[in-house]
Point group: C2
Chain length 262, copies 2
């Protein structure tokens, strides 16, 4: 990964606590992997274990880390293959569809379910409604070039958008909001953190439970500053990364600094 300045060999001369065998094996497997083109296959676990003179457990630990980093793909019953690298997703206030298209990818989106429920106090505060008011909850599976990319759970205040549940489908949500309610997005607050896949998420994403995920939360507001939606999305950490463009702080009249630790 571009660490080509001279003198990088011994990063820490400290005391070298001890190098676990699975780490050393991981490095050797990474070397082996460099000679394999994306999609190519690797030897089986048992073969690797005997070849390198370690137990299968140790092999699995090394392979697990390489898989978490997206450098390997493993298919139960079939084999272990070289990974495909990460796609990028831009952090910006535009629709998923046009964003993906600008990257030359074919985006699709399918509505998993739409439910109406009552807002708890926390959610009510986020959406600018009263506790107990109706909230429309949408779950979408987003794909890029057919491959599952993220599970997105949106929550919108029904009192502000009466009848919204009858308009939503696989199409653009933001389009519906604009056409039926005249709402345009102004800004959003987005947080990014790591997470592990739940079994349910893994099943939808073609993933493994416990896999590395990126968790995005987005709190969107319209051009007049009123809350529009609260979204929680999980992305496969081994397949996607995010890009943001930061600008010099001159339009920083964001006096509404919200404290939301944890």
């Amino acid at each position: 990964m571009g660490e080509n300045l001279p003198g990088d060999a011994v990063e820490n001369g400290k005391k070298s606590p001890r190098t676990p065998k699975h780490w050393e094996l991981k490095e050797r497997l990474a070397d082996l992997l460099r000679a394999v083109s994306p999609g190519g296959s690797l030897p089986g676990e048992r073969a690797l274990a005997s070849e390198f003179g370690v137990s299968r457990t140790t092999v699995r630990k090394a392979l697990a880390e390489l898989t978490a980093e997206g450098r390997l793909t493993r298919v139960h019953g079939s084999g272990t293959f070289a990974g495909e690298g990460k796609l990028t997703q831009r952090l910006q206030l535009s629709s998923y569809t046009e964003d993906m298209r600008s990257h030359g990818r074919r985006p699709t989106s399918s509505l998993l379910d739409a439910r109406i429920g009552a807002a708890d106090p926390e959610l009510a505060a986020l959406l600018g409604i009263r506790s107990g008011d109706d909230v429309l909850r949408l779950r979408r599976l987003r794909r890029a070039d057919g491959e599952p990319m993220a599970i997105e759970t949106s929550r919108l205040p029904l009192p502000r958008f009466p009848g919204l549940d009858r308009f939503v489908g696989d199409g653009s949500l933001y389009g519906v909001l604009y056409q039926h309610y005249g709402v345009e997005l102004g800004h959003a607050e987005e947080t990014i953190e790591t997470a592990l896949a739940t079994p349910a998420e893994a099943a939808l994403l073609g993933n493994e439970a416990g896999a590395l995920m990126l968790l995005l939360s987005r709190h969107s507001f319209d051009t007049e500053g009123r809350p529009v939606e609260w979204v929680r999305s999980v992305y496969r950490g081994d397949r996607y990364k995010f890009v943001a463009t930061l600008v010099s702080p001159q339009s920083s009249d964001e006096s509404t600094e919200r404290e939301r630790e944890r």
Copy 2:
């Protein structure tokens, strides 16, 4: 995590491939954990294994996932303790110091090493210099309230900032750039992805090798659009999350769309 809408119980009625024992155990341990205040201790691995009637290996797998999620902290030789939650770091073009201070935290920063090396072609392109030109590489350890937070590796073009290596220290790099070279930052392109800690990183961050990390790359430009630095930072994924404010795309004259997949 605010999943309080009714009907959340059975997320996927699909076919339920099988629930591994370590997953079930993880849920039970999470329950057990809810009754423990942050910093409180849990029983040892061997005790848990016999209490739940599983092997120590299975206990360790469940504990490992909870640790990766930041819900547990484990100390070799001492015990297993409840986690402390995540701190937030804002994605913005301001100094680390003032950002942390605005969150009420005491930031410190120490220079690990400063080296001069030759740029490879890729790095030269990023920094707007010729391949082989001198590059100053700085490694910093950033802390918040004394706790190691991130390892930051910056690379700056020495031809543009002659003598910079004599000015750098534990203080603000951006301050030095402004005072000695009149450089102010204009914008930056930042990418965020997941990674696993290397043993060297883990040693510096008080972490475990293979732990979940957030990897930030920042490519900064001055107010005239010339590249200033290229930074690569690793943050503990179990302790930090990032916040960005997105604004409506009106000033999107970013015709310099750079393709940097993988």
